[in-house]
């Protein structure tokens, strides 16, 4: 084990306190009983019995699925291309991926209302395309880091000299090699989609977050429970994803040494 400097340890302690205390406080809050007396699970059972819980969760999950597929299909080939032959386009793509962090989502929502065709605006799947835009910066970064850490050039050449075509190379060589980077990107995309409120609310679609906002006006404790459940769920998936790829890699031991 490495020894950490006191400054590092203090920074980590502060970060843990600052980021965990709201979560813990909300957790305690959410277990309060009827009228704030005692502790019970009543707020959690209340959520599930609300009308619209399953419907809206299903809508958001479907949107998340479509967004994940779209963002991967769009960005994986693009980033691989940038790493292989298209290096000169890198600056441009990096710049494009910066803009969604900076351009206000509110502006994007207004623009979508003005610019998108009517048939697209009539379905909630319209949101997926804009979720892809919003997720792009994070996904690009994750994939870029993943591809930097593997000897992509050598892998592709080896695969091609063994007679594989581009599709096979992508599917059987590149994708497994960047699997952990992809799971990271996947998780961020899902977290973002399941929590996105601005676009959904301004474009007048009913999704899980907008439903939570509506329901929260009726029962504050229930809404806190809902928020905690969402976040804890997200963190559990995160923990799983952080450790599964490592385990798998150790077991196979193929790509670690390139």
């Amino acid at each position: 084990m490495k020894k950490y400097s006191p400054l590092t340890i203090i920074s980590f302690l502060f970060a843990i306190i600052f980021f965990l205390s709201p979560l813990i406080a909300a957790g305690e809050y959410s277990f309060r009983g009827l009228n704030g007396v005692g502790h019970s699970l009543i707020n959690y059972t209340w959520i599930i019995h609300q009308s619209g819980f399953y419907n809206n969760l299903a809508v958001s999950l479907r949107l998340a699925l479509v967004t994940v597929v779209l963002v991967m299909v769009l960005l994986v080939p693009t980033v691989v291309y940038l790493h292989l032959g298209g290096r000169k386009w890198r600056r441009l793509v990096e710049f494009f991926c910066l803009i969604p962090i900076v351009i206000p989502v509110v502006s994007l929502a207004i623009g979508a209302q003005v610019a998108m065709p009517k048939w697209l605006q009539s379905t909630s799947y319209e949101l997926c395309f804009f979720y892809v835009i919003v997720a792009m910066p994070y996904v690009y970064r994750a994939l870029d880091i993943g591809l930097q850490s593997i000897p992509l050039q050598t892998l592709v050449e080896a695969s091609q000299s063994l007679g594989a075509n581009w599709f096979t190379t992508l599917r059987r060589v590149i994708l497994p090699a960047i699997a952990s980077a992809m799971t990271g990107a996947l998780f961020i995309t899902i977290a973002l989609t399941l929590g996105e409120y601005t676009l959904a609310s301004l474009l007048h679609f009913r999704t899980f977050p907008t439903w939570v906002t509506n329901v929260s006006q009726e029962n504050i404790l229930g809404a806190v429970a809902l928020s905690v459940a969402t976040l804890v769920g997200a963190w559990l998936i995160l923990l799983l994803l952080a450790f599964i790829p490592k385990f798998k890699r150790n077991r196979k031991g193929v790509l670690v040494h390139g």
Partner: protein, 301 residues
């Protein structure tokens, strides 16, 4: 750097075909980027262009900048000023704290590092009602942290602090701004060479001198540019601001939100478009400054 050594070693048609292909990519081809450009063009740039067009077209379909005059009056001016102030403070505060945390994370490795990186991604995207509830539960009048601090005789509500006003929102924004800073700033910190610390060490510098004369000058442009992005991110935050305030702090995204919801009927139909363009303009300034800094720091090294 690219395929020279690899192709020399490998024999056969496929390899030479690949070399030719890679060569073509480097010189002429741009097919690999086309789907990305089309997607970003249609779903990112076309909407922005459309509001720009709508904002300069008045009710009679004439081109006019009249609506922009409204942005400099009354409530709209107030909203821009308070949005600007909040974003500036939050960018500086989260910038410094996030940079410190990025340094701490750079000292770790393996599972801890990959976990903190993913955690930063998740935290940076936390917002809206869930975040507001968490902070009310922790720092509200009746919150857990408030009570604990009160136990140590620190009443955070003794002054003018309130979760719904300026300082409260600043605190809440830190929750997603600090992780965002970690995400943006970490690559620069990781690029610091180990040899520099060793060289400075062998020349007899202590760690403060190393920071003052080596780390700080090298990372300052990256720090400033990351802070500019934080500014833009705070400037555009909507869900959290909406959940935290009850109309007591006018912020531009909130004003636009009420216009879109149809609760308020503006005197000019395209006022919302003009406000949105105003936001794009302020954020655009931050991006231009960011790119300028990036070029400056690249040119120097």
């Amino acid at each position: 750097m690219m395929s020279k050594t690899g192709t020399a070693a490998a024999v056969g048609n496929h390899s030479s075909g690949l070399t030719a292909f890679l060569h073509k990519c480097r010189t002429t081809s741009f097919w690999g980027i086309v789907p990305f450009l089309i997607f970003a063009g249609y779903f990112l740039f076309w909407p922005i262009f459309s509001i720009a067009k709508a904002s300069i077209t008045d009710n009679k379909h004439h081109i006019s900048l009249g609506v922009y005059k409204l942005l400099f009056t009354g409530n709209y001016r107030e909203a821009f000023i308070s949005s600007f102030k909040l974003s500036l403070f939050s960018a500086l505060l989260a910038g410094v704290l996030g940079a410190i945390l990025a340094f701490a994370i750079s000292k770790t490795s393996g599972a801890v590092k990959s976990f903190t990186n993913s955690a930063a991604g998740v935290l940076a995207n936390t917002g809206g009602v869930p975040l507001a509830f968490m902070f009310v539960a922790a720092f509200g009048q009746d919150g857990l942290v408030t009570k604990i601090l009160l136990f140590f005789h620190w009443d955070i509500y003794a002054g003018s602090f309130d979760l719904g006003n300026f300082w409260g929102i600043l605190l809440v924004y830190c929750f997603f701004q600090i992780p965002l800073m970690v995400i943006i700033f970490s690559p620069a910190v990781e690029n610091m060479k180990k040899e520099w610390a060793e060289a400075s060490d062998s020349l007899g510098a202590n760690s403060f001198q190393f920071f003052r004369f080596v780390t700080a000058p090298i990372l300052f442009p990256a720090f400033l540019s990351a802070t500019l992005l934080l500014f833009a991110s705070a400037f555009s935050a909507y869900a959290t601001a909406r959940a935290m305030t009850i109309g007591n702090l006018p912020l531009v995204p909130l004003v636009i939100g009420t216009l879109v919801d149809g609760n308020v009927i503006p005197s000019e139909a395209n006022l919302g478009d003009a406000l949105a363009m105003g936001m794009v303009f302020v954020s655009g300034l931050a991006i231009v400054a960011y790119l300028g800094l990036l070029r400056f720091s690249k040119g120097r090294s």
